[in-house]
């Protein structure tokens, strides 16, 4: 009983806390100090393993603040989670309660014994249960084929990158293009709560133009997104209506072109790119306006984070790292406590630059794609002997997927190409469908007997 328990998220809300908006609603976060968005049913969730299956980011934000310290485990379903995986995820996390909102899509796997509805109406409640637990926060990875991995974090680990001395003044207004149900977006949500700042959230299906106009209307000062989000925002004339003081990129590798474009668009703003992954947490932030990582970052421990390169890939040992996977025996960290990120770094002058991913994983606008999954679909066609799916650099989404195909008969008919595209369309989400299919005479096979994949 005497073990010191860290403050819960609700306890970290100060008087100076800000407003959270989405397209439909506005919430004063300080109302949660003595109020609830869960219709008086928070006590039913005490000690439970709860899945947050809300459709809106704003109700997600409120539910997370309320349930930290109350629920035993919080599993956050991202908006693009595959419904076919729900049952396996819920069983893995031993979920016994679900928080929904009016935007939650109906799904049989979410018919749990305890079902609590979150709203954006905060009602005063004098009998809120006291925070009594150190809640496990469970996030899903995006980089796996099949059922995503479930990664266990603590609030302490999640908030470690934010730092104690960095409480923003109440005038800060954060925005994120990145959904708060993913690690990169969750960081922004936590910064806003702990920093007492305001936060503008997008609504599901909201066009970028309207989102930008709302960001402008609320006087956004700090704005975060993936390089792909930013490239898309830069295509909108409404981008000129905002003038953030701080522009942040994470979730994908930031190249020099996007950093320069943002500097040109916002000459007064600090432009920084952060490296983070769901497993490793935030490893570092680069704020000198240049792509890549200064080699000096590897020479000393920075904020408790140690980085090294082994077998070409970035390894991170950090208090911000997740502790383990649920439902998998795979080790998240090695014997020395390092997470292998799988990101390949190469030294160019005095900086390390990103040179693709081990295993050929392709990052398309922040979504990771395993080429093998697409090859398996293409190889189903009776005319196909073998195929190689590889990334091609894209100025818009970082990479796109293209496929090289060897046919059995050598007949390179137009029909086969459209049949292959149809196969992919039937079996794969849009971002995994090859943008182009080329027929080639042969593919390189490495000494290991596997297809030779170049780092992209």
């Amino acid at each position: 009983m005497a073990r010191a328990r860290p403050q819960s998220l609700r306890q970290r809300i100060g008087d100076g806390s800000g407003l959270f908006w989405d397209r439909a609603a506005r919430v004063a976060i300080s109302d949660l100090v003595g109020g609830t968005s869960l219709g008086g049913r928070l006590c039913e969730l005490a000690g439970k393993s709860v899945v947050i299956a809300t459709g809106s980011q704003l109700t997600t934000a409120l539910a997370l603040i309320e349930l930290d310290g109350i629920a035993r485990r919080l599993t956050i379903l991202p908006p693009d989670a595959e419904p076919a995986h729900f049952a396996a995820l819920l069983a893995g996390a031993e979920v016994d309660a679900v928080v929904v909102d009016r935007d939650t899509r109906a799904h049989a796997a979410l018919a749990l014994p305890i079902r609590v509805t979150a709203t954006t109406d905060i009602v005063a409640d004098q009998r809120l249960p006291a925070a009594a637990l150190e809640t496990e926060w469970v996030m899903l990875t995006s980089g796996t084929t099949g059922v995503p991995k479930m990664v266990v974090h603590s609030l302490d680990g999640l908030t470690a990158p934010i730092g104690a001395g960095r409480r923003l003044d109440g005038a800060a207004v954060w925005g994120t293009f990145y959904d708060i149900r993913r690690y990169g977006g969750l960081q922004i949500f936590l910064r806003a709560v702990i920093g007492g700042a305001s936060l503008v959230l997008s609504s599901s299906g909201e066009p970028i133009v309207e989102h930008l106009l709302r960001l402008a209307q609320h006087g956004i000062t700090h704005l975060s997104g993936t390089p792909s989000h930013w490239r898309r925002a830069l295509m909108s004339p409404s981008i000129r209506k905002i003038s953030p003081r701080y522009v942040r990129l994470s979730g994908e590798i930031a190249d020099q072109a996007i950093l320069d474009s943002l500097h040109t668009m916002f000459p007064e703003a600090a432009v920084g790119h952060a490296y983070a992954s769901t497993e490793a947490g935030v490893a570092f932030e680069v704020n000198d306006g240049l792509a890549g990582v200064p080699a000096g970052f590897f020479e000393e421990m920075r904020d408790g984070v140690v980085m090294k390169i082994e077998d070409g890939s970035l390894r991170i040992r950090s208090p911000r790292t997740a502790s383990r996977y649920i439902g998998s025996d795979a080790a998240l960290i090695d014997a020395e406590g390092f997470v292998d990120t799988g990101d390949i770094l190469a030294l160019r002058g005095d900086r390390y630059v990103f040179a693709g991913r081990r295993g050929g994983i392709i990052n398309i606008g922040g979504l990771k794609v395993h080429p093998e999954e697409i090859e398996a679909v293409i190889n189903r066609h009776p005319q196909v002997r073998m195929s190689l799916v590889r990334p091609k650099a894209s100025p818009i989404t970082g990479s796109i997927v293209i496929a090289d195909v060897v046919l059995k008969s050598g007949s390179q008919s137009r029909e086969v190409k459209s049949e292959l595209l149809q196969l992919c369309r039937d079996a794969l989400p849009q971002h995994k469908i090859p943008a182009a299919i080329s027929f080639v005479a042969a593919l390189d096979v490495a000494a290991s007997g596997k297809l030779a994949r170049r780092q992209g």
Binding site: I208, R232, S236, A257, D260, A436
Partner: protein, 81 residues
């Protein structure tokens, strides 16, 4: 086929493949209002590179991505020369 017609052709093809409705392609049409999303434009740029032999956005260091359809066509007309 002219550069502009090639672009229009590819845009309607991609819109069809992605199940999107393409807006009438006037020069002042804001690209984000065209009906294609980021992925659609990524596919467009890749296919135009195949057809026209140039990716003007990757080739250039400083180009901000164009905002309107007319600007987009101009980038290719300048690049394809």
């Amino acid at each position: 086929m002219s550069v502009k017609l090639t672009i229009m052709d590819q845009m309607s093809e991609i819109a069809r493949e992605h199940g999107k409705i393409l807006a009438p392609l006037r020069d002042d049409l804001v690209l984000l209002d065209s009906g294609l999303d980021s992925l659609g434009f990524a596919v467009l740029v890749a296919r135009l590179e195949d057809q026209l032999g140039v990716d003007p956005f990757t080739a250039s260091e400083d180009a901000l991505f164009p905002v309107t359809f007319g600007d987009f066509v101009k980038v290719y007309e300048n690049g394809a020369r």
